[in-house]
């Protein structure tokens, strides 16, 4: 019995000595706990390290329209900013998207540098996410015909083509050939959640001025979803805050709706 014990101890020591120094050893029951631990650690690692550029600061966003840095107002059918009521998305009230309608299949370009963290392909799957630094991301919504050079983990530069604006179907009550795209500006809070922030605040001055010009021209049209006009001539956003023509925004800068978290948009894979 003593010999047996000695053999077992020697065998165990040989195996344990084979573990490289500095290796973090985990104790557990069964293999599945280890898989869970390591898969979650890997997911967290990717989330923290799939970052470009190496910064915590917000980007300065530049809109590169299909015609250049600015576009003629007539090239935009409708626009909304900001804190609008999205009638077609019940339950997600007052999204801070920048919504622009034009004719379909216009190219959409990256507003800032970043790294691709999520791509969608397929029917009614057309949201593409580029992350800027650790705390910001831009979600390009309704962008189809993706640039074939894009892949998860690829670094994109300002002005690089993401894809094309989708075109609505004739059954949606719009003139043939109408398309639109939206841009959500996502921001990570101190507790790690991703919320929506007002994209207008992060645009560089030329883009801001161009958007404002378009907005002043188009936002008050009968088909606009930019806000609502009261009897006394005030223009209000979805939350009842007055939108001024100087800022073209209500008073809300961020939307943090309990239970609404955009963490799932900061993915690392193509989504079906």
């Amino acid at each position: 019995m003593r010999i047996a014990k000695t053999r077992l101890i020697i065998a165990a020591m040989v195996v344990l000595c084979g573990i490289p120094a500095g290796t973090q050893v985990r104790l557990g029951v069964g293999v599945m706990g280890g898989i869970k631990h390591r898969a979650r650690t890997l997911h967290r690692t990717i989330h923290e390290q799939l970052v470009y550029p190496d910064t915590d600061q917000p980007p300065r966003l530049t809109i590169r329209w299909w015609t250049g840095s600015t576009i003629p107002k007539d090239d935009v059918l409708s626009i909304n900013t900001f804190g609008n009521k999205k009638l077609n998305m019940p339950g997600v009230s007052g999204q801070f998207t920048m919504w622009v309608a034009s004719s379909g299949f216009k190219p959409i370009y990256a507003l800032c540098d970043g790294v691709v963290v999520s791509l969608e392909r397929g029917f009614d799957r057309d949201h593409q996410v580029v992350r800027y630094g650790r705390n910001y991301a831009i979600e390009y919504c309704h962008v189809v015909n993706l640039n074939p050079d894009l892949a998860i983990g690829k670094i994109v530069r300002t002005g690089e083509r993401i894809g094309d604006m989708w075109e609505m179907s004739s059954g949606q009550g719009v003139p043939p050939g109408t398309g639109y795209f939206e841009i959500r500006f996502l921001k990570r809070t101190a507790d790690g959640r991703w919320i929506m922030a007002n994209i207008y605040d992060y645009l560089e001055p030329v883009s801001q001025e161009n958007i404002r010009e378009i907005w002043l021209e188009k936002a008050f049209s009968p088909t606009s979803t930019a806000g609502s006009l009261t009897a006394d001539g005030k223009f209000l956003d979805y939350f009842g805050n007055e939108i001024t023509t100087a800022t073209i925004c209500g008073v809300m800068r961020e939307i943090d709706i309990p239970g609404l978290d955009f963490t799932s948009y900061i993915l690392y894979d193509y989504r079906k």
Partner: protein
């Protein structure tokens, strides 16, 4: 589903126990895990001292308490173990049969709605243990081993690996 499986295994064990005689050739079994769902096993004796075991498992990765885990769904495992009877090297031990062996498992972890897996990987382990028959068709195994787990993202340059010292608690329902 877990209740149904447990009930099925108990019924099979009961039926087999009525037949009498210790069975050693083929067993269905479970491995108790830290996670909620036990791992399923099928053990087949190839020779008197050599057996092979197939293993299948699933674990839910989602954790609502942590924001990062909201997009990970499940991990799946499929693996094989070889079991070598070493009791004859330790003649002083008669109450239980001793075994040692190696284990190799293939693992995939998935994200919600993703086209590709978040990670694929493998587990390699060395273990020693003891098996005690509680009846002619039911046995309990306890073993311990050193395992190396490696997971990597298939299309990103990220890897997670490490060593686990694991204890396994296994229940075998011998059918033959």
């Amino acid at each position: 589903m877990q209740r149904c499986l447990a009930t099925l295994l108990i019924m099979v064990s009961f039926v087999c126990a009525v037949q009498g005689g210790r069975r050693t050739t083929f067993a269905l079994g479970v491995s108790l895990e830290e996670t909620a769902i036990p791992l399923l096993r099928e053990k087949i004796s190839l020779y008197r001292t050599l057996a092979i075991e197939l293993r299948q498992g699933i674990v839910h990765l989602r954790d609502t308490e942590a924001v990062y885990q909201e997009t990970i769904e499940d991990a799946f495992l499929i693996g094989v173990r070889t079991l070598y009877d070493v009791t004859r090297f330790l003649p002083a031990i008669t109450q239980v049969s001793l075994y040692s062996g190696i284990e190799y498992d293939f693992v995939t972890a998935h994200q919600f709605g993703a086209e590709h897996p978040l990670a694929t990987g493998r587990i390699i382990g060395l273990f020693v243990g003891a098996e005690k028959y509680l009846s002619d068709g039911l046995s309990l195994c306890l073993d311990a081993g050193v395992y190396h787990t490696s997971l990597s993202s298939p299309h990103l340059d990220f890897r997670e690996e490490g060593v686990d010292l694991l204890f396994n608690i296994l229940v075998n329902f011998y059918l033959f």
